[in-house]
């Protein structure tokens, strides 16, 4: 059943690629089918465990726990929305790649076998690479190459960790890549630390975290906004997902050992990303850099290793996905109207496009963590755990909220307020299709802002054993 969930978008990608008539409609149909399958499997899906490559101890093993459910839900909801947003200026190649990306992303979230996880982790790059390279700004080929080199570099380092696990598990008996088996292994401190470092580098590139974040701004600037949504809101989550599931899950002692360094990197990301975002004139770069700041907060929540921090981080991953998707899409609609992403060339759009301005403000404030909007709860939980870790860390992390308010409100002010620009023609407000894309996202933002309970209860059971292991390790 879980295999089906991966297969539907994958088959959809193939069908879309060869379908001569109405390929986008087919692609959308497959995305909706995936959405339905995703929701169904959330309630009734037995784990899958088949032998795949016996000599290597690889199993085709899939399972969906609470954390996986949240990430799957985020993915299957975002893909069809993005497809609607992309309909005007993307051809069928993009739709086929988007479905392929969805299939591999789902596979990473479901994988119960490290080898399967790795294969999907790397395979996501191929569709992403083509999506960036085939649609977007004039420098897109360069951005795509930079993206791929960073990601594959990280991926190959992860391969080192993977092989390390194989060697250790072969020595312990028959090789196995099942995550549950690997967690039982007695690895030895030095090897465990090396494995941790390798895995963390890979996930830090993916997430992205300072100092391996430099691909992010270039990519978001050059790629089209639907591509960016899939990259930042779905694909980058694999990084933090991996930190929780693999770093904390498999090598908890080494994670505790590395925490001080990781916390410092996370703090730098938080402040540096936000400060850079404030200074940006390119709206897409701005949103990309805010994500750097937010991923810093997520990482901080993960490694502060308290129950609140981890739950907060998981929640944050979902909420950030929704809020940033909204931000990117709104920016995309805006750019489609103005023909440029430069903030300084926009001014006083509030009167002409009230709906656009309003949605921008709501999504932006959600990003900034306004109470009542979803990101608030997760942010508070992360910050509490940061203060638990060390008061100074907490103080620095809190600046993120202030800085976030600055970049959101200042961007809003520059784009929408002030005297209207004397433009060549009137700028239209959002049409029905565009509103239709945004409404589900904004509803989700509001709903989870007031009722975060379901998210928390989904994340709780995943977190409890991790925290126990780590605190036992300390």
């Amino acid at each position: 059943m879980l295999t089906t969930l991966v297969l539907i978008p994958f088959v959809g990608a193939l069908v879309t690629a060869v379908m001569p008539a109405r390929p986008k409609l087919w692609a959308f149909g497959f995305a909706i089918a995936t959405l339905i399958a995703g929701v169904v499997t959330m309630f009734t899906a037995p784990d899958t465990d088949l032998v795949w490559m016996e000599p290597l101890g690889v199993h085709w093993a899939l399972e969906m726990d609470g954390f996986g459910k949240l990430m799957v839900l985020l993915t299957v909801v975002l893909v069809p929305l993005v497809m609607v947003a992309a309909v005007k200026d993307h051809d069928k190649r993009w739709y086929a790649w988007a479905l392929a990306l969805e299939a591999f992303a789902l596979l990473t979230f479901l994988a119960a076998d490290l080898f399967v996880f790795y294969i999907a982790f790397e395979a996501t790059l191929i569709p992403a690479y083509f999506m960036i390279g085939q649609h977007g700004g004039p420098q897109r080929a360069k951005a795509a190459l930079k993206f791929l080199m960073f990601q594959l570099g990280g991926g190959l380092v992860l391969l080192g960790a993977l092989i390390g696990f194989f060697v250790v598990s072969s020595e312990a008996g028959a090789p196995s890549y099942l995550i549950s088996d690997l967690a039982q292994l007695d690895i030895g401190t030095t090897a465990e630390r090396w494995i941790f470092v390798a895995m963390f580098i890979a996930f830090a590139v993916k997430a992205p975290l300072f100092p391996v974040h430099t691909w992010l701004a270039d990519t978001t600037e050059q790629a089209t906004t639907p591509t960016s949504v899939l990259l930042v809101c779905v694909l980058d989550k694999i990084g933090t997902f991996g930190m929780i599931r693999l770093c904390l899950g498999l090598v908890p002692e080494a994670s505790a050992w590395a925490t001080p360094v990781v916390v410092v990197l996370a703090l730098i990301s938080i402040v540096y990303g936000a400060v850079l975002a404030i200074g940006q004139d390119d709206l897409l770069r701005l949103i990309g850099l805010t994500s750097l700041s937010h991923f810093g907060l997520i990482t901080l929540g993960i490694f502060a290793a308290t129950r609140e921090g981890l739950v907060g981080a998981i929640l944050y991953m979902v909420n950030h996905g929704v809020a940033t998707a909204a931000m990117f899409l709104i920016a995309g609609f805006l750019i489609a109207r103005k023909g440029t992403a430069s903030i300084s060339s926009m001014r006083g759009l509030e009167k002409a496009t009230p709906v656009l301005a309003g949605t921008f403000l709501v999504a932006g404030l959600a990003t900034a963590g306004l109470p009542g909007l979803s990101q608030f709860v997760s942010e508070i939980m992360v910050l509490i755990s940061a203060f638990d870790y060390h008061w100074l860390v907490g103080v620095i992390a809190v600046t993120a909220i202030v800085l976030a308010a600055i970049y959101v409100l200042w961007a809003y002010q520059r784009i929408f307020t002030g005297p209207a620009q004397l433009s060549r023609g009137p700028v239209r407000d959002l049409d029905r299709r565009e509103v239709g894309v945004l409404v589900p996202l904004l509803v989700a933002l509001l709903f989870f802002g007031f009722v975060p309970g379901p998210l928390i209860s989904a994340a709780q059971p995943v977190v409890a054993p991790l925290v126990d292991v780590i605190q036992a390790g300390e």
Partner: protein
């Protein structure tokens, strides 16, 4: 009193058949009318290879596995049979590419008459008369026979004989390109001279090893070495023999012929040679190092490790600056030799060890390189093949299928998951890391990152760049070439998605026997 050795014809007939087909090809060349030669030669070669492949499979599955014959000169074991089969499979593809006549207005990629000097009236006459070099098929069959022997040689002399039998036809085939003949002949001369030197060095090392052990048999050398420990004679012998084999595989610092020969040789020859030679050479190298020199592992492992590191780094970095696609693939072949050497650093185990890893890597690489060069032969301009990479720009727009297939081969060589190359790379790294060779593995990972850059750059060029005015076109090949390309692509993807059967086959095949 001299006793003739007993030879088990029941297990050796595939090799003998291929060599027999080669001889028959010479006879055909002498007696058959010119018009009939092409068809006769091609069908003879294909039939011979198919029969030999069936024979190899039968022998490999039969009860004679694990014995040696001809006084230990030839060894019938699992890895030997596997690599033999692989050589035959690749060679079948090679024959199909050799027989391609549709791309170049009804003539093959080989010179009409090798004896006619380039640019003379004799050459013009030859091409006007539409002459063809049908000798290439018997030449190729001799080389294939040599490669098969190389894979199963159990003693030093056999190893040397097989090396020569496989090398000499390759030198000739390299010089036979129909277009750009001077380049081709220069490459052949370079290959021949350097190859002759390396054979000489190999022979000298062989003599020293014999002097040490007093025996030609690899197994007996292994026993003597295990008892007596290292002597300078043996170490020098190992070093000199390694030079010969490292030359054949194109490892640094004996790699300098690779890009020139890859570029100069007719593309079908490059395609087949790059895959088949590497398979045979590594099969022989594995056997030599594990069976004969296994006891000296501490001595040769660091040295091979250094060679592997240099080979990977140099191959990958030089490939980046190439502007010709054949040269780029040539340097990429050098880098792959480095990865294979990384696998050689591991140890033989009962489960998934070095032998399995290297042989799987060879399988993955063999198909990818065969297919990639086959595609190179399709991309043409008014003056024949277009090697220059900037004229490949925008190929993905005009010919999406060809470009996409080429991308699959490149991604496999780069080692991305879901392609055979990934499992191959994983295997050799795991083998080396299992033997504690982590510094080499770290370098290997680093060079993989460098290598990805130039593979991806070609993909970027094909798909993301707008076409120039003089963009190359893709000629329609005959069915034979299309089938080779399609099967290589299918194999590349299948071995990446379900490598289980082949891996199990390799594990079941076990290790080398003495």
């Amino acid at each position: 009193m001299f006793e003739s050795p007993g030879i088990s014809y029941a297990t050796l007939w595939p090799v003998l058949l291929v060599l027999g087909v080669a001889c028959a090809g010479v006879v055909v060349e002498a007696f058959a009318p010119r018009a009939a030669r092409f068809n006769t030669q091609v069908s003879l070669a294909l039939a011979g290879l198919v029969a030999a492949l069936a024979g190899t499979v039968a022998v490999g599955a039969g009860s004679s596995l694990g014995m040696s014959t001809g006084e230990g000169a030839l060894v019938i074991d699992g890895p030997g049979m596997f690599s033999q089969g692989l050589v035959l499979l690749v060679s079948l593809g090679g024959v199909a590419l050799f027989a391609e006549r549709r791309l170049d207005n009804g003539v093959s990629a080989f010179a009409g008459q090798a004896a006619a000097l380039p640019g003379t009236s004799a050459e013009r006459t030859a091409s006007q008369r539409g002459l063809e070099h049908t000798e290439v098929y018997p030449l190729m069959m001799f080389a294939v026979g040599g490669m098969m022997l190389f894979c199963i040689s159990g003693d030093l002399l056999m190893l040397f004989v097989a090396l020569e039998v496989l090398s000499l036809p390759l030198y000739l085939l390299t010089g036979l390109a129909r277009r750009r003949r001077l380049l081709s002949q220069e490459a052949a001369l370079k290959y021949f001279l350097l190859g002759a030197f390396s054979s000489g060095i190999f022979l000298y090392g062989l003599a020293l090893v014999y002097g040490f052990a007093g025996s030609m048999s690899l197994a007996e050398i292994g026993e003597v070495a295990a008892e007596d420990g290292s002597s300078p004679l043996l170490l020098l012998g190992i070093g000199l023999m390694a030079v010969g084999l490292l030359f054949k595989t194109g490892a640094v610092p004996f790699h300098s012929w690779t890009p020139d020969v890859y570029q100069g040789a007719p593309t079908p020859v490059t395609a087949w040679m790059s895959a088949a030679t590497k398979i045979a050479a590594f099969a022989a190298m594995l056997r030599l190092f594990y069976v004969a020199f296994g006891a000296e592992g501490e001595i040769w492992r660091p040295a091979i490790g250094v060679v592997a590191v240099l080979t990977m780094l140099l191959g990958a970095s030089f490939a980046i600056v190439q502007t010709d696609v054949k040269r780029m693939l040539g340097y990429s072949a050098v880098a792959h030799t480095g990865f294979l050497l990384t696998g050689l650093l591991g140890v033989q185990t009962d489960a998934f060890g070095s032998t399995q890893a290297v042989l799987f890597y060879l399988t993955a690489y063999g198909f990818a390189t065969l297919g990639a060069f086959a595609i190179v032969s399709l991309v043409r301009g008014p003056n024949g093949e277009v090697g220059s990479l900037d004229r490949w720009a925008g190929l993905g727009r005009a010919h999406p299928w060809v470009a996409a297939t080429f991308a699959v081969f490149l991604l496999s060589m780069a080692g991305l998951p879901l392609t055979a190359g990934f499992i191959g790379k994983w295997g050799v790294f795991a083998a080396a890391l299992g033997a504690g060779q982590w510094p080499v593995v770290a370098v290997a990972i680093g060079s993989s990152i460098i290598a990805i850059f130039f593979y991806v750059r070609v993909i970027m060029l094909m798909f993301f760049t707008d076409a120039r005015e003089d963009v190359a076109t893709v000629s329609r090949p005959s069915y034979a070439t299309s089938v080779v390309i399609a099967l290589s692509a299918v194999a590349t993807v299948l071995l990446g998605v379900i490598p289980g059967p082949v891996l199990s086959l390799l594990v079941d095949a076990g290790g080398f026997i003495g």
